[in-house]
Symmetry: C2
DNA sequence: ACAAAAGTGTTCGGGATACACCCATGC
DNA sequence: GCATGGGTGTATCCCGAACACTTTTGT
C-alpha cells in the first residue's frame, strides 16, 4: 500500500569531472506538454523514509547504491495544486486533489557510474546543468535550491564528495569538483596546500599515465580524517 | 480533518539567563506511568507544516508567537510501535497502529516570557534541563538531539538567539546565552571583542541599575547585521 | 619545439587564543 | 571596606588570500 499523503523526492547531483548536474525526469503527460520534475513518488507502507527515497530513485531512473541524505520537508497545502500540474495529476493519481507532504533527499554521484534509464512513469531521464534548470513541476525548483544549499554546506565540512572521484585521483580533479559544486574558483596553490595540510588526502607513489602533458601525482582520500 | 499519517513535533528550547531547557509535556496515560514527550500532534488539512507546528504548540502548551524552524523529518515505520508507547496510543488514537511520519521543529524562547500551561492532552507542561533529559516517548529523544545539533550550528552563524535576551542586555548576558547553548565557556575579553568588532551589537549610553556591583553597559542587537 | 597541465614558496593581514589586573557600585 | 561582577590590552599563532614561473610529458 502506498501512502497518499507522503512522498519522497530525490535531488541527485551528478558530477562529470567538469560540471554539476541534476537528474531530472520528463514525465509522461497528456497533450504535448513537456514536464520536467525530480524523481519522486509516494511512500509505501513498512518502509523507512530513507528506503523509500532509494526505492523511488531506482524505480524511476534505475540508479541504485546511491547515498541519499534528507534535506527537508515540504508541506505547503497548495504545493501540488497549481493549475499547471493538474493535467498530470489527473492522469496519474487516483486522487488528484490529495494533499502531499514530501520529504526531500539529495545525493551526489559520478555521472559516468550511472546510466539512468527511464521507467514506466518517466518518458525520459536526463542530466541537466545545475546552473540553468528549467521550470519544474510542483515546487521542485525550491526543493533543488534547498538541496543545493545543504550540499554546499556539507561540502565545506567535507562530509560529501568522496564518492565523486575515482579511488585514485589528482588534486586538480578534486579542485574541479569543489569548484563545480560551489560554483566558484580557487587558487591552485592554496587549494593544494589546504587539502594536504588538513590531511584530506594521502599522496600515493603513483602518477597518471596516458595523458598528453606532465602526469599528475595521484592521491586518495584520508579515510580516517574525512567524514566517510 | 486531521491527517493520520503526518505529525509535527516541537522542540522548544528555553533559556532562563543561566541554563538551556527543553519544553516537555507529561502525557495523560493509563495506569500510573509517567510519560514525557515533546509537544506534538497531527497535521490538519489546509495548514502548512509551519502553521501546524505553531498551532500544536499553542494547543498543548499555550505558547504562541514563537519562531519555529524545521529541523528534520522522522519516518521510521516503527517509530510509534514500541511496546512502551502502546497504552498511550490505544487510549488516545483512533488507529493506534497507524504509521506516523513526523516533521520536527525547534525554537528558542526566553523562559520568563512564556507561561506554559497544560491543555487537554497534557497533564503537565514543564521545562527540563537539556543536559539531563529523561526517557521520552517514541523517538523523541532522537528528535531533541537532532534539534540541538541544528540549533548549535545556527547559533554559530548568529541566526538564532536574538529572541532570548531582553531588548537591552549586557554582554555578560549574551555570553551566558552562548555558553548555555554550546555547553562550553569562553574568555570574557575575546567574546566581547568579537561581539563588538563583528557588529553583532550596538553599545547604548545606558547602564544597568539596581545591581549590587558595578553596573554593566547595555547593548542591543544590530538589526542590520544579525540575521533577524 | 610546442602544447598542455602539473607543480611549487613567500608575503601579508586578520582573526582566534591565551592571559591578569583594576574599577564601580551596593551594602 | 568588602564583595560582586564589569571592564580592559597585548603578544602570538595560524589561516586564508594574493601572486608567477618552471617542469614534465606526448606529439
Amino acid at each position: 500500500m502506498i501512502n497518499p499523503n507522503v512522498s519522497v523526492d530525490c535531488v541527485v547531483f551528478g558530477f562529470d569531472g567538469q560540471n554539476l548536474n541534476v537528474l531530472l525526469i520528463e514525465q509522461k503527460d497528456v497533450g504535448q506538454l513537456r514536464r520536467f520534475a525530480l524523481p519522486g513518488d509516494h511512500l509505501s507502507d513498512n518502509e523507512d523514509l530513507d528506503q523509500a527515497a532509494a526505492r523511488v530513485l531506482k524505480e524511476l531512473t534505475s540508479l541504485s547504491g546511491v547515498y541519499l541524505k534528507q534535506s527537508g520537508a515540504f508541506g505547503d497545502p497548495d504545493r501540488v495544486k497549481n493549475i499547471k500540474d493538474l493535467p498530470w495529476l489527473q492522469s496519474n493519481r487516483s486522487n488528484p486533489q490529495a494533499r502531499v507532504i514530501t520529504i526531500a533527499y539529495y545525493a551526489l554521484v559520478k555521472m559516468e557510474d550511472f546510466n539512468p534509464s527511464a521507467s514506466s512513469f518517466a518518458e525520459r531521464v536526463f542530466w541537466h546543468d545545475v546552473n540553468s534548470i528549467p521550470e519544474l513541476a510542483f515546487d521542485h525548483s525550491d526543493i533543488v535550491k534547498a538541496a543545493l544549499d545543504v550540499l554546499r554546506r556539507e561540502l565545506a565540512e567535507l562530509r560529501v564528495g568522496h564518492e565523486l572521484l575515482p579511488e585514485k585521483f589528482t588534486l586538480s580533479q578534486m579542485q574541479a569538483l569543489h569548484e563545480a559544486i560551489l560554483n566558484s574558483s580557487f587558487d591552485k596553490r592554496n587549494f593544494r596546500k589546504k587539502a594536504i595540510n588538513d590531511h584530506w588526502v594521502i599522496a600515493l607513489e603513483e602518477k597518471q599515465t596516458g595523458v598528453l602533458h606532465k602526469p599528475a601525482r595521484l592521491y586518495t582520500w584520508n579515510k580516517s580524517r574525512a567524514g566517510i
